[in-house]
């Protein structure tokens, strides 16, 4: 296995890839038709106050996502559903109602964390395109590709990708001034079939000084989740 990896590295060095090719390979290895998991979210604010939340997540493709809070007690049953970037619903058990959330300011944060909803639902860089050729570099001693990408709204990010397996190691979201605003670190990937999924993700909000860790457990991939699962009725059931 080690020899194979070494060969892959040498091969990569010999034939440098474009940024788009690297990004395509990242999408290919991190992709799954659907995924289900329980997640432990630990939010640490700049004053080192820690909040923990337990969630259940069900995701299909790049757009359909349902997340249900299991704890703390006062949030138990709160469910978010998104079926596209413009369609987002919330169910609040205390009100017994589902409401569609819309507006220009709905994608700023998720559940008090440093993740935006888009960041949490799109870790495979589906709507990103590379703007420059990939450069060879190293992260923690591992050979890595460094590339700059832009999403469909023109927001730029810097990505470091492990050369051996094309797994994202680190992402920096850049502000309009070109400075990093958020840093996402991926750790501990698990392999299910052809997919490598990060089960530990930490996001640092560099301007606020806070961070959020997301740890996935009981990860299941490609179990055949139906489109009809993502409904108001299932939201109220608490997924």
């Amino acid at each position: 296995m080690k020899q194979l990896l070494a060969l892959l590295v040498v091969a990569n060095l010999v034939a440098a890839l474009t940024g788009s090719e690297v990004l395509d390979r990242v999408r290919a290895v991190t992709n799954a038709k659907d995924r289900q998991a329980t997640a432990a979210m630990t939010i640490t604010d700049k004053g080192n106050r820690v909040q923990t939340r337990a969630l259940r997540t069900v995701m299909k493709g790049d757009n359909k996502l349902m997340m249900t809070f299991k704890s703390p007690a006062d949030l138990r049953g709160v469910t978010f559903l998104t079926t596209s970037s413009d369609n987002m619903w919330i169910y609040l058990p205390a009100q017994g109602r589902v409401r569609r959330i819309s507006g220009s300011a709905v994608d700023q944060g998720f559940g008090g964390s440093d993740f935006s909803f888009r960041e949490i639902s799109n870790l495979s860089f589906a709507d990103n395109s590379a703007t420059q050729p990939a450069e060879s570099t190293a992260v923690d001693g591992k050979p890595a590709w460094f590339l700059t990408v832009k999403d469909k709204d023109g927001a730029a990010s810097r990505i470091w990708v492990e050369q051996a397996r094309y797994l994202p190691l680190r992402v920096e979201k850049l502000g309009a001034d070109g400075k990093a605003k958020k840093r996402i670190e991926f750790g501990d990937f698990v392999n299910r079939g052809e997919s490598w999924i990060p089960v530990e993700i930490t996001i640092h909000d560099l301007s606020r000084g806070s961070r959020t860790e997301l740890k996935l457990d009981s990860l299941k991939l490609n179990t055949g989740v139906k489109d009809g699962y993502f409904t108001e009725a299932n939201m109220k059931k608490g997924a």
Binding site: I43, R49, F69, L75, L92, Q95, R100, G103, A105, S113
Partner: protein
């Protein structure tokens, strides 16, 4: 100030110093040069500072609340950008405001800009909860513009908050990042505002902007006023001496003392505050007198035929003691300001004492060291002699008249003091820092607009610590806010309570009856989670992420500390009543409380510092002249001066502020000099055997002109401060200048009359 050394107590040390300076002038000059070279570079480190919070003592409760707001809620320092125009809702104006808002938001040091085009809102529409900006994009067609105008002006959240009720002025609030370089951030805001003049007439207010203006104007004052003070001193010295050394030596000594003092200020990294800005004029005006006395005495001895070096020995040995007494009493007066609880006044106290001591040391070393090297003969100038004789005659006549009518003089003095005291009772402390500026200046005007049309510039900060999502706590907070709104001048009360009420209404289809707090803890927690979608900024300004600390803000549309004091009393009662029996902890702070703390610190410590100064000068005079009666008598003109000074302030409606708070102790410290001169001279005449009216005539005839010239020189030096850009400095300069008049009149009339002609003649003239 001529004094016979043999008649003065304890001049041995000074005599020895005089001998050493006369023998080794080069050594003393080299020493002065070495210290100047060592300290001068540090004077380049000086940095202006005008932050009102830095004036408060560490541990002041208002500071701890501000620190909490900075660390937990992103700070409260806001620059208010006021845009005056014909119609805020005109298309071009809205675009210009939007462009200005974006440009401000992009500036380093600016955390966010709150304005019409950035304000976020949560509203309900059918089954939708819409979280968006109030104006997502500027509408282009007239109908939508008109609709926007109607909607915004009908909504109390925007009308009188971000847009004036008549739609002719808009307000942008640029919140600065805690810990950023505020001066640089405000400078960038000023630049951007200047570049966006098309939006209308743009002016700035808010404490960071006012602090920047104060800093800039202080710096310009330092550079502008010092040369004028020096010029006044040069003219005074020219008229007095008409020799190069008579002008250059007292001036040089005091300028070197200034360089040393400012060097130490820089070395200890002390900021130049609004109080410290008066230090250079004070040092030049007060400190120059010591060198003048030495030069005068040296010239006197030279005229009597002494050589330059023997004249130096006598000048230092005999004049040194009265100069020491003048310095010591001034140090006592200035040093008593150290008892004030305001950091910048304490710093002024320390460095003014150090500066006065340096001036004294240089007057007794540098000045005579140069004089020892002067070979030129000193001759009497006939015209000057005649002029001097006339002055002396006039003063002697006045001394005789005051002696004969001493009861009348004392009665008149008492009557004036009594009248003045009655007026002095009207003097009030006022720490409103908009009063630092001249009426009609841009900062004053902008502050008035924000106060009158946007609900006020200053913001109270209330901290509630406890289980905030507990419905009982939220209900108490709501009651507290309602109570706050009933207090005069409090406007725009806001907290997470308002956010939750708005969200509850939005989640229930926008029905007005749901504009109330959610009923359960779970509902509250879930609404807060929903709001997290709009980004933590929306919530984090008002509640911490663990929901254990909440912030309530309330604007105040006045700036006067007296008005704040009235509101603060009601707030504290309201707070105690509303949260009684609850487990939450509450605290109040914010800029109004900082201004109030400053007000109270001045009130509580000003009298103490004046009394300390009086006791110190009494002890100095009584000990050095070895006479308790003289100690008490020396206080008479000072008490008269204090009464008249504060009486004039009361009659003119002037307020005691952070600078004029030092007036009393400075008046004591400088004004006592005239009494000391008079007492010392009177002792000499007594020793010469004079008594009765003749004693009074000779005392006043000899020392009177010197006192008048000294008071004029110091008074003129201080009156230069009326050219300051800042109203607070102008007032201080004129008040101290007037104080010199009162204290010299006090000495020449009241003290002369009080001392009468008692004395045992040792020899008949």
């Amino acid at each position: 100030m001529g004094s016979n050394p043999s008649n003065q107590p304890g001049p041995g040390l000074l005599r020895r110093l005089g001998v050493q300076v006369a023998r080794r002038p080069s050594l003393f000059l080299a020493g002065a040069l070495a210290v100047t070279v060592a300290l001068a570079p540090f004077s380049l480190r000086l940095k202006a500072e005008a932050d009102v919070n830095k004036m408060l003592p560490e541990g002041d409760p208002s500071l701890s609340v501000m620190a909490l707001v900075d660390s937990e809620f992103g700070g409260s320092d806001e620059v208010a950008v006021v845009i005056e125009c014909r119609d805020v809702f005109a298309l071009a104006t809205l675009h210009a405001i939007d462009s200005l808002t974006s440009a401000l938001a992009d500036l380093p040091g600016v955390a966010e800009v709150q304005g019409l085009t950035t304000l976020q809102d949560v509203r309900g529409q059918g089954d939708d909860v819409i979280i968006s900006k109030v104006i997502d994009s500027v509408p282009s067609d007239p109908a939508r513009l008109a609709a926007l105008r109607s909607a915004v002006l009908a909504d109390p959240r925007y009308r009188g908050t971000l847009v004036s009720a008549d739609g002719t002025a808009a307000l942008l609030l640029a919140r600065l990042l805690p810990g950023c370089d505020k001066e640089r951030a405000v400078a960038a805001i000023v630049q951007v505002a200047r570049e966006h003049g098309s939006a209308g007439r743009v002016s700035l207010s808010g404490s960071p902007a006012l602090m920047k203006f104060i800093r800039d104007w202080m710096t310009s004052d330092m550079l502008k006023l010092l040369p004028v003070v020096v010029l006044v001193l040069v003219l005074t010295l020219l008229l007095t001496f008409r020799t190069w050394y008579g002008v250059l030596l007292p001036l040089g000594a005091v300028l070197i003392a200034l360089v040393w003092t400012l060097g130490l200020v820089g070395l200890f990294r002390q900021p130049i505050t609004i109080v410290m800005v008066v230090l250079p004029p004070v040092l030049v005006s007060v400190g120059s007198a010591y060198g003048i006395h030495i030069v005068e005495r040296w010239e006197h001895e030279r005229r009597l035929g002494k050589g330059p070096r023997p004249a130096v020995e006598i000048a230092v040995g005999s004049t040194g003691l009265p100069v020491f007494l003048a310095m010591a009493t001034t140090v006592a007066g200035f040093g008593s300001n150290f008892l004030m609880k305001i950091a910048s006044i304490r710093a002024f106290s320390v460095f003014s004492v150090v500066g006065i001591a340096f001036s004294f040391i240089l007057a007794l070393t540098f000045v005579p060291a140069v004089l020892a090297l002067v070979r030129r003969d000193v001759k009497n100038r006939p015209d000057e002699a005649e002029h001097g004789r006339r002055r002396n005659r006039w003063c002697a006549n006045w001394g005789g008249w005051a002696f004969r009518h001493r009861a009348l003089v004392l009665l008149a003095g008492a009557a004036v003091a009594a009248l003045a005291l009655a007026a002095a009772l009207r003097v009030r402390t006022e720490t409103d820092f908009v009063r630092y500026f001249k009426p009609g200046s841009q900062p004053t005007r902008a502050a008035r607009i924000v106060n009158e049309r946007f609900g006020g510039m200053m913001q109270f900060e209330f901290i509630v610590e406890g289980d905030i999502v507990d419905p009982d706590v939220l209900e108490r907070m709501a009651r507290f806010q309602a109570g706050l709104e009933s207090i005069p001048h409090i406007t725009q009360v806001y907290s997470v309570v308002n956010v939750l009420e708005t969200t509850n209404r939005a989640f229930n289809g926008g029905a007005p009856e749901f504009e109330r707090l959610p009923e359960s803890r779970d509902a509250t927690a879930q609404y807060l989670l929903l709001l997290s979608f709009s980004g933590s900024e929306f919530l984090s300004r008002f509640i911490t992420s663990d929901y254990q600390v909440a912030r309530v803000t309330a604007r105040f549309d006045r700036q006067e500390s007296r008005e704040i004091a009235v509101a603060a009393e009601r707030i504290k009662s309201l707070m105690a009543a509303t949260f009684a029996g609850s487990s939450v902890k509450t605290n109040v702070g914010g800029m109004p409380m900082a201004v109030l703390a400053l007000h109270r610190n001045i009130q509580s410590s000003q009298l103490g510092s004046v009394i300390t100064a009086l006791v110190a000068v009494f002890l100095l005079v009584a000990i050095l002249f070895r006479c308790l009666r003289l100690g008490f008598a020396s206080l008479l003109p000072i008490l008269f001066t204090l009464a008249v000074s504060f009486g004039v302030m009361g009659a003119a409606g002037l307020r005691v502020d952070v600078v004029t708070a030092m007036l009393g102790s400075i008046a004591v410290g400088i004004g006592i000099d005239y009494s000391c001169h008079l007492i010392a001279r009177r002792r000499e005449e007594q020793a010469a055997g004079f008594a009765g009216e003749e004693l009074a005539r000779r005392t006043l005839g000899s020392v009177g002109p010197a006192i008048i010239v000294n008071a004029l020189a110091v008074g003129l030096g201080f009156s230069v401060l009326m050219f300051s850009s800042l109203s607070i400095i102008q007032q201080f300069g004129l008040l101290v200048a007037a104080t010199m008049l009162y204290s010299s009149v006090g000495a020449l009339a009241l003290l002369a009359a009080a001392l009468g002609g008692r004395g045992k003649p040792r020899r008949q003239p």
